[in-house]
């Protein structure tokens, strides 16, 4: 019974309970690895010391009688739930693409890693000790090219290859953390090791990888990406963009959680840049994989942007859209979503602030840009119609609705749109 309950908590954490990405200390970093969200590097020589156990070899599984096997057992059970998760992304091309990058990074370890894409609109990826890697779609929305995606995937692989979960577990049992560890352990007396592991995960007691482990994974991620020809500088760029998004957030409660569990972001960003330059000297290839990324990931961007806006974290979404626009790819689509953001936020102008305009005017301006750039979905006309309707500009509203129906003659909401156009015939 207890194991079932714990397993349910575990699955909830992993399958992307929203709280995982916003509530520090909630969940488990080895599962929903908020900590493992952005790559970075440690200064040479500042490594985590002598490892307690050697790295995994390709195809290696732990011996049955070990604590490591206990971890694997718990994760195997969680993995079976992942396979039927409601938010599992089943798009074949996208799965093949991400798995392909993982395989190139992992080399001989490729067959040991299973990748699961989950439709969760936060920036996150996680790595379990049994080789299960979970990637959230909010990450795909924020990485700007294949190299940036590879930077995060490589970082996650680092946790697996260096057996960080096991290190953390054994460290917790043998060092100053023992007190906390055994207090909880005492409450679980008689529960087999797998049950204890699940309990500790559920209680958040072995939650995060240590900062040293994060640094080590950053270093490994960067090495792996550089070795197969990706531009290592993209890693620092991704990190800087995440900082920028976080700083734009008016509601500090929704900040990226890794700011509390990872090395200080600014320092880390600097270290990353410096070490990327060193890596470049060693392997000067600088592929970013822009085209493949655009062909396979960007067709899904509208879905992910809709998910993003539904979070109603408007200030950070506004910054995110601004950054995506800097790439200039599918600008029409991005301006449309900027318009949607302002329409949904619906903030009135602040009378005291000079130059401040109503969100409805901002929305209309963004829609106009979207139409200029081309590539916005037909709903843009429906959205414009709604704004005109609210401002009492009926004729403009009906013209916009008519345009929407002209472009989407089979629209799902055809009847309601027609009914809204009826009063004036």
């Amino acid at each position: 019974m207890r194991r079932h309950r714990l397993s349910a908590v575990l699955v909830a954490v992993w399958l992307g309970a929203g709280a995982c990405a916003t509530a520090p200390g909630d969940g488990d970093a080895s599962l929903a690895d908020e900590g493992g969200t952005a790559p970075g590097l440690i200064a040479p020589g500042a490594g985590p010391g002598v490892p307690l156990v050697p790295d995994l070899s390709p195809g290696q599984r732990p011996a049955l009688a070990t604590d490591e096997a206990g971890w694997w057992m718990v994760m195997d059970r969680t993995e079976s739930k992942l396979k039927t998760a409601g938010n599992l992304v089943r798009d074949e091309a996208l799965n093949r693409y991400v798995k392909g990058i993982v395989c190139r990074l992992a080399g001989p370890y490729c067959p040991d890693i299973r990748v699961y894409l989950l439709r969760v609109p936060y920036f996150n990826a996680s790595m379990a000790p049994n080789g299960v890697m979970v990637v959230w779609t909010g990450l795909l929305l924020r990485t700007r090219n294949e190299a940036q995606l590879a930077a995060v995937l490589g970082h996650e692989l680092g946790h697996y290859l260096r057996r960080h979960t096991l290190h953390r577990w054994r460290d917790a049992k043998s060092t100053t953390n023992a007190l906390i560890f055994f207090q909880i352990g005492a409450a679980l007396g008689g529960v087999p090791v797998a049950g204890q592991i699940a309990s500790l995960i559920a209680m958040g007691s072995i939650t995060a990888f240590s900062r040293d482990q994060e640094r080590e994974s950053d270093r490994m991620g960067l090495r792996l990406m550089a070795e197969i020809g990706y531009d290592p500088r993209e890693s620092a760029k991704l990190w800087q963009n995440l900082i920028r998004e976080d700083e734009a957030d008016e509601d500090k409660k929704t900040r990226f959680i890794f700011f509390s569990t990872h090395p200080a972001p600014e320092e880390r960003s600097e270290t990353l840049k410096r070490l990327a330059e060193d890596a470049l000297k060693a392997s000067p290839a600088v592929e970013t994989g822009d085209e493949r990324f655009r062909n396979i990931v960007l067709p899904h961007r509208q879905e992910y942007l809709r998910d993003e806006l539904r979070l109603r974290r408007f200030s950070r979404s506004e910054e995110l859209l601004k950054m995506l626009l800097e790439d200039g790819v599918d600008a029409g689509e991005l301006h449309f979503f900027r318009g949607e953001l302002y329409r949904l936020r619906g903030k009135k102008a602040d009378g005291d602030k000079e130059g401040d305009t109503d969100d409805k005017d901002k929305a209309l301006a963004a829609y106009a840009k979207a139409l200029d750039a081309g590539g916005a979905p037909p709903e843009i006309h429906r959205s414009m119609g709604l704004i005109y309707l609210k401002s009492g500009q009926s004729e403009k509203a009906w013209a916009a609705f008519a345009k929407y129906l002209e472009l989407s003659p089979d629209a799902d909401d055809l009847e309601i749109i027609k009914s809204m156009m009826q009063p004036m015939g």
């Binding site: 309970a17 409601g86 599992l88 539904r310 109603r312 974290r313 909401d413 009847e415």
Partner: protein
Amino acid sequence: MARLASLFILALLIAACVQYSLVKAEKVAIGDVYTVDAQIAWNKKTEGKTEIWTVDGPLLQELRFIKGIEDGDALFRGGAGKKLPPFKSKMTAIEIKELFETSLAQIGVARLKTLNLRPESFGKVAGFRFEFTYALKNGLEKQGFALGAVIDEKLHMIIYSGTRLHYYPKHKDDVERLVRSIRMI
């Protein structure tokens, strides 16, 4: 220690148990705005301005009456840290459907699809209706429909949903008859 903690949690759970009451298969007033013929017997619980009726349990199927939420109110109860969007009295049916989608996304459902938004009368009032499907995180598929209208600047909705394979179809016809029996008070 562990046993004490378990007992404490159990006591909390019992205290948190909701009381259901019986709704007989007869004419029932929903707030002071309209009546419906319940068609069959239901179990009812109340959460603020919402009544939730069920036959087999709310996780399997539920008939939800949202009784006149006002400007600024959320459609559903959200958990901690959720930013459920507020209803605005000037919203069109399209925006109310968006409100529904955003609210469910915030609550955390997967693969949400809303379908066929169309005008439909709510009793004698001009209203709207749409169908929807979604999946829970564990993969369980749900299906439902929503009927709504803004009456005196307040949003009234009747939302029927249940597991797609059995509990939604089980009482769908009863609910269709129920919504056709709406009479404004």
